[in-house]
Amino acid sequence: MNLSESIRDEVASIPVGPGDLAQVQRAVSRRRARRRLTGVAAAMVFITGGTAAGVTLLGTDDEPVMAVDRADAAALTVPGTDGSVLYIPVDDRSSPVTLSGETLNGGAETLATYRGGVVLIRYWAAWCAPCARDALIEMAGDPDAGFEVVGAVIKKGSRLSWSIDFAREERFTFESIVDASQIPFAQFGTPDGALGAPATVALDPSGRVAGLKYGQFESRTEVRDFADLAR
């Protein structure tokens, strides 16, 4: 018997107990519950950091937290969403965000290149397990997605090499700028690292912040809906 056949036989002989489908279902609900809590915590940080004009927060532990402008609050009691989404109405958007700097790959990146289309900025860190892979990461680089993704790495609490490894191991297809403190959260009065990660900012075609989302994206539909806020 040769080595490859032995490997096959050995692995095949590892005993495996019976599966429990109910456990999978419980895992799905647990993940959702956990994500909701993270969303609430992140939203609290946001509120204490200063609330944008015309914005209100909706939600309890059981119902999702969503921040929307008051005029649309009534239309937006959405069950089943995780995390919190902040929407900034066109009239309340501040001036275009500027962000440029060195990328993890050693190149240079500037947001100015992306003006004219929707850009989603993913705020991530190497110590953040939920930053690894979600629907947004999967959609990044898809030419049909209708938006571009740019990463912003949180430097605090991590070495540059860890971030480089993380991006490579998790197959990030987008460029990440190595200084998250520059990113648009500053305009909400939150310093680098004060927000939970992952967080995502939507920039409209003029480069102004149109939306902010805490936590992972559950589905591609959720990503598309979020990007639509900036159209």
Binding site: V24, V68, V78, R171
Partner: protein
């Protein structure tokens, strides 16, 4: 200003998603689950070197597939989707463990499972030796020889280049042959 009509549509869509997730699993999901779970569990045990972490990775894989089943069932190959998530979850568990300098205790468990194979000790050692490889090499070995995937399929699953799969696979086999010495070096070249 937000267009109310569009938000209304989103609301319906999200509610639909919510209902999908809380309903009992569709029969085709149950089928994929029963067919794939044992294999996926073995793959994850080899990659993580730990049964508990492997079960977690498998659960993560199926939970993700379940949560996104509408999309996954339309994919060309639902098995490939689940496998990709399981493998990547298992790899990230394995890397976390190696950062904490944890050592696998799984080999003891393996040994118990080898009653009946012709050379239990040597063969249990093979799994222990695989457990000493770097996490990605373990993944490549198990995907190549147990799951019978091609280099291209492995590259796709792991998100690396086929050339990397080739070189890592030969590095892994090289280490195993060197460590298993007597068992495979002399009579293992067929």
């Amino acid at each position: 200003m937000v267009n109310r009509r569009r938000l209304g549509t989103n609301q319906t869509r999200l509610r639909q998603h919510h209902d999908d997730v809380n309903a009992s699993p569709p029969s085709d999901f149950t089928g994929v689950y029963s067919a794939l779970r044992p294999r996926m569990t073995r793959v994850a045990i080899v990659v993580t070197g730990d049964r508990g972490r492997a079960e977690d990775a498998v659960q993560t894989g199926f939970a993700s597939a379940f949560a996104a089943w509408g999309r996954v069932r339309k994919a060309d190959d639902p098995a490939a989707y689940v496998r990709r998530i399981v493998i990547n979850a298992a790899l990230s568990e394995a890397r976390k463990a190696s950062r904490r300098h944890e050592v696998s205790t799984e080999s003891v468990d393996h040994r118990a499972a080898h009653v009946g194979s012709h050379d239990p000790d040597a063969r249990a050692d093979l799994l222990s030796e695989i457990a000493k490889l770097p996490p990605r090499q373990r993944a490549i070995v198990v995907l190549r020889y147990y799951e019978d995937l091609t280099e291209a399929q492995i590259a796709d699953t792991l998100g690396c280049r086929p050339g990397t799969v080739k070189s890592q696979a030969s590095a892994a086999l090289g280490s195993l042959r060197a460590r298993m010495g007597d068992t495979y070096q002399l009579r293992g070249t067929r």
